[in-house]
């Protein structure tokens, strides 16, 4: 399956250990930047009660949902055990300083 890459911005548009939102017709996508400059993208909706993950505290490769502090893995979208659930992941890549995102979620997660 081919990805339709969309240019969404530069890496420095997102603060380290932070996130920004890409707004799409199908809902918001949170794009994260970790302390070591890795980029991840998740549906901006916590599997618990739909909290905006983009507003959470990013630590290591996890984000803590701002509503009830569920921890979500940025790479897999899975909730950290013992919580269960997942946020859909989106393909994302960095070319030089530019971030490209595909608005098609990876399969396997109900909130894609």
């Amino acid at each position: 399956m081919s990805n339709d890459w969309i240019e969404v911005g530069k890496i420095d548009d997102i603060p380290r250990k932070g996130a920004r939102v890409v707004r799409t017709g199908e809902g918001d996508i949170a794009v994260f930047r970790t302390a070591d400059d890795r980029i991840f993208a998740l549906r901006d909706k916590c599997p618990h009660k739909g909290g905006p993950l983009s507003q959470g505290i990013v630590h290591d490769t996890k984000v803590a949902c701002p509503l009830h502090d569920w921890k979500i893995q940025l790479d897999t979208g899975e909730a950290v055990a013992p919580d269960e659930g997942c946020a859909a992941t989106f393909p994302v890549k960095l070319e030089g300083q530019t971030i490209y995102l595909s608005a098609k979620p990876a399969e396997g997660c109900p909130n894609g």
């Binding site: 969309i6 969404v8 911005g9 548009d13 997102i14 603060p15 380290r16 250990k17 932070g18 920004r20 939102v21 890409v22 707004r23 799409t24 017709g25 199908e26 918001d28 794009v31 302390a35 070591d36 009660k49 739909g50 909290g51 905006p52 507003q55 959470g56 505290i57 990013v58 630590h59 290591d60 803590a64 701002p66 509503l67 009830h68 502090d69 013992p82 608005a103």
Partner: protein
């Protein structure tokens, strides 16, 4: 290649260490475990209920063999290690199995002490230590009638109770005239004896056993005074001895136990030891709580996070005999320097004694009703000043005037559908089920699995009580000193101390200097560190907005649907038609969904999108408003009544005072939210006596009250001091806030903080010591120079900061 870790001993201490190690460094070692019992790992402290027929072996298994396989651990069960070859770094088992190690963990536990008397090896003489002993006792109970238990300590009484449940007639023989003399004083011991006698247990004490008599099997027990007792079964429960022979033969230094240092290393630094086999700072332990603490420190050291230190454990004890509640902790006998608080109600069978020194609990003995045991234990461990609660302390936590929680301690008697955690809707039955099915041991485990007590925390005591009730007696609820979070072993106080002493000026520096275990912390520690650094280095520390919770980062409160609320400051609760019109205009302009008059005397605008925030702030800021900090761990509001300017009862101008207090303190960051009030007379319409700091005006001046809370647990303030002038009030406000800012733990409200440090100490700092008060107030004013920047204005003016409120990109679909 991975290093090899070999564990000798498949008991609770060894496996707990492995579990802790897997948690922090899952891939650090190839792990091999030797155990001489033919089982997986089981919960030894639950053997008593098994003997009493209240639980089955299956129910007390902790890790089945699948667990070892799942975690890639090689388990040699039923193989006793007979030699440690330290030169070739190998351990050798009885059947010749060998394993090589880079690091070795000895967790061989202890064994029952067998009295060296004639007849000790006869059939029918057993100890009470493992599943095998329990099996043979249950078998003996099927055939014989009379059992003699030698030893009137914890283990002996639990064995005797179990045998009675199995249908035997039981006599307990004890060398002293006090039962459980290592845990109980005489009154409690006598109540216990009476209670057990009523249940049909017999006692022979003081009595010294001379011999066990019989041909092949035990027939009688003979005592020094010549008397004899018939016995079909004799249980020796006179104490335990650490298993040190293996270590000793390998040339490792042992005294009563294997001697270890604060990182649980033996004299051979490649070899660690944990559990009942060790001797640490001269002490050996036979309870489970210390084992768990050791396991944690040892695992950290094995994972090369070498900063955790084991500094010994204050232990508490309960007896696992259904229907008998006793609790003992610390120094329960006392000495010339201590005093005793005693409550005794013989007909109800209740006895409580607290040993107190300098208004701090040193030890406790309780009998009959032990529901407050864990509370006393916490007060003792934390060294809490109890002078304020001395009058009521013996009646228990429920009588401390915390309205709304009076029944909280009846946890054992609660029905399964009783709600324990109101925030997350968790019932007693859910928690009990999680504890038993998921084999949970700690408060953290219960929080993670059930969410109980993970939000507001007001039910923490209940959950801990429930945990102790389900898991069993001698388990202690929390480590000796609570680390700041899972990323470190350091406590809040230790972290602050090091920030100061090593002059650490940003979060990475703190994490590096204090050996943080995670690359960039977690929400718990990052927010705490950001605050501590801000407090310690005002004007110098660069606030890390990514280490702040979203509300403080966005200067607005996130709501359940992801929108935000905006609350401008209204000084002292006062406003004007002009201000109200401006708020109305802004609310309409931005399509605010809901307008609410808040509890803090101001107006909240709800339902705003994040990207609207900088714009609405700009409009408000231009009209003269500043942020109300309704979202922050910061000064919130100063509530006032209209005072003598309007009210016929008013004694002072409380409104003016309230505004001055707010002008002085707005913008300051605090460990938790901080609310104030000023009432114009003792009728106290501004509810000043449930605020963090409240002023009640009286004819002669101003009464200053501190440490109140109207939130999850209502607490009325303590009276701090009487002030004569407004200037004096303001100095106390500044000094008190600074003391709280510098001393309290992050996310600790003033109410629990004052209960922890004691009102007497607070008075010492700011009432009795004028110089110190002035210095504190001065430091507060200095910090305020940098803190009193309106964040709304800053955001509205700063393009770079504002951009973060916008979407990164909008993609048309």
């Amino acid at each position: 290649m991975k290093e090899k870790l070999v564990v000798i001993g498949n008991g609770m201490a060894g496996i707990r260490t492995v579990e802790e190690l897997l948690k922090v460094a899952p891939d650090a070692y190839d792990i091999t475990v030797f155990g001489d019992e033919p089982y997986g790992n089981y919960n030894r402290i639950m053997l008593s209920p098994v003997l009493a027929g209240e639980k089955t072996i299956d129910e007390i298994m902790l890790n089945d063999e699948q667990w070892y396989a799942d975690n890639g651990i090689t388990l040699h069960k039923g193989k006793k290690v007979v030699k440690i070859d330290r030169v070739r770094r190998r351990v050798i088992a009885e059947d010749g199995t060998e394993a090589e190690y880079d690091r070795l963990l000895i967790a061989t536990g202890s064994r029952p002490f067998i009295l060296p008397i004639p007849g000790k090896d006869l059939d029918g003489v057993v100890s009470f230590r493992d599943i095998h002993d329990v099996d043979s006792m249950i078998a003996a109970a099927k055939q014989g009638k009379h059992a003699v238990v030698i030893g009137g300590g914890l283990l002996g009484l639990e064995a005797a109770n179990g045998l009675m449940q199995q249908g035997m007639s039981v006599t307990v023989v004890h060398i002293m005239d006090i039962l459980m003399e290592r845990q109980l004083d005489r009154p409690a011991a006598e109540m216990l004896r009476k209670n057990l006698e009523e249940r049909g247990m017999n006692f022979l004490m003081p009595a010294e056993t001379e011999a066990i008599v019989g041909k092949d099997r035990v027939e009688k027990v003979r005592f020094k005074d010549g008397t004899e007792l018939y016995a079909d079964l004799v249980v020796m429960a006179v104490g335990i001895r650490p298993n040190i022979e293996l270590a000793k033969e390998a040339g490792i230094h042992c005294e009563r136990g294997i001697v270890v240092n604060d990182t649980l290393q033996t004299f051979d630094p490649r070899i660690y030891a944990v559990g009942e086999c060790v001797q640490h700072r001269g002490v050996t332990y036979g309870l489970v709580a210390p084992l768990f603490e050791m396991a944690k420190v040892c695992a950290n050291h094995l994972a090369q996070y070498g900063i955790g230190r084991y500094e010994g454990t204050v232990t508490s004890t309960k007896l696992k005999v259904t229907g008998i509640d006793l609790f003992s902790a610390g120094d329960f006998l006392g000495d010339d320097n201590t005093e005793e608080l005693v409550f005794q109600d013989a007909s109800r069978g209740v006895y409580r004694k607290l040993v107190v020194q300098d208004n701090r609990i040193k030890g406790a003995v309780m009998y009959g009703d032990t529901i407050d045991g864990s509370w006393y234990f916490d007060l003792m461990r934390d060294g809490t000043d109890i002078s304020e609660m001395r009058e009521h302390i013996l009646f228990g936590q429920a009588h401390l005037g915390d309205s709304g929680h009076g029944e909280q301690n009846r946890v054992a008697a609660m029905p399964d559908d009783a709600e324990i955690c109101g925030c997350n809707g968790v019932c007693k039955g859910d928690i009990v089920k999680a504890i038993t099915e998921k084999k949970l041991f700690t408060l953290e485990d219960v929080r993670a699995h059930t969410k109980a007590s993970s939000s507001c925390g007001s039910c923490t005591g209940l959950v801990e009580a429930l945990l102790a009730h389900v898991v069993g007696g001698d388990y202690s609820t929390a480590p000796h000193l609570k680390p700041l979070c899972g990323c470190t072993d350091k406590t809040h106080d230790e972290v602050r101390e090091q920030i100061r002493r090593q002059e650490l000026k940003d979060i990475p520096a703190v994490m590096q200097a204090l050996d943080w275990k995670t690359p960039d912390g977690c929400p718990k520690c990052r927010t705490a560190l950001n605050y501590y650094l801000l407090c310690e280095w005002p004007g110098e520390y660069q606030d890390d907005s990514q280490s702040r919770f979203i509300n403080e980062r966005a200067h607005a409160n996130i709501q359940k649907d992801g929108t935000y609320s905006v609350i401008p400051r209204m000084w002292g609760g006062g406003t004007s038609p002009k201000e109200l019109m401006k708020i109305a205009e802004v609310a309409e302009k931005y399509g605010v969904k809901y307008v609410h008059v808040t509890g803090g005397q101001r107006i909240g605008l709800y339902g705003l999108k994040k990207e609207q925030l900088p714009h609405i702030w700009k409009d408000l800021e231009e009209a003269g408003f500043v942020s109300g900090h309704a979202y922050g761990k910061a000064l919130r509001t100063v509530k006032t009544c209209v005072g003598k300017e309007w009210c016929r009862f008013g004694t002072q101008d409380s409104t003016h005072l309230g505004i001055e207090m707010e002008k002085l303190t707005w913008g300051s960051w605090t460990p938790h939210k901080f609310k104030m009030a000023a009432s114009g007379c003792p009728r106290n319409c501004a509810e000043a006596t449930i605020k963090d700091l409240g002023v009640v005006c009286v004819d002669s001046g101003y009464e200053i009250h501190v440490g109140g809370n109207g939130g999850v647990k209502v607490r009325a303030t303590d009276f701090l001091v009487h002030a004569k002038t407004e200037e004096e009030v303001l100095e106390y406000v500044a000094a008190f806030m600074q003391l709280y800012r510098e001393n309290a733990h992050y996310l600790e409200r003033t109410a629990p903080w004052i209960e922890r440090v004691g009102l007497a100490w607070v008075k010492e700092q700011i009432v009795e010591d004028e110089a110190r008060r002035k210095a504190l107030a001065e430091r507060f004013r200095e910090a305020q120079k940098y803190a009193q920047q309106d964040p709304w204005k800053e955001m509205a003016e700063n393009e770079a900061k504002r951009v973060e409120f916008e979407p990164l990109k909008v993609v048309a679909s």
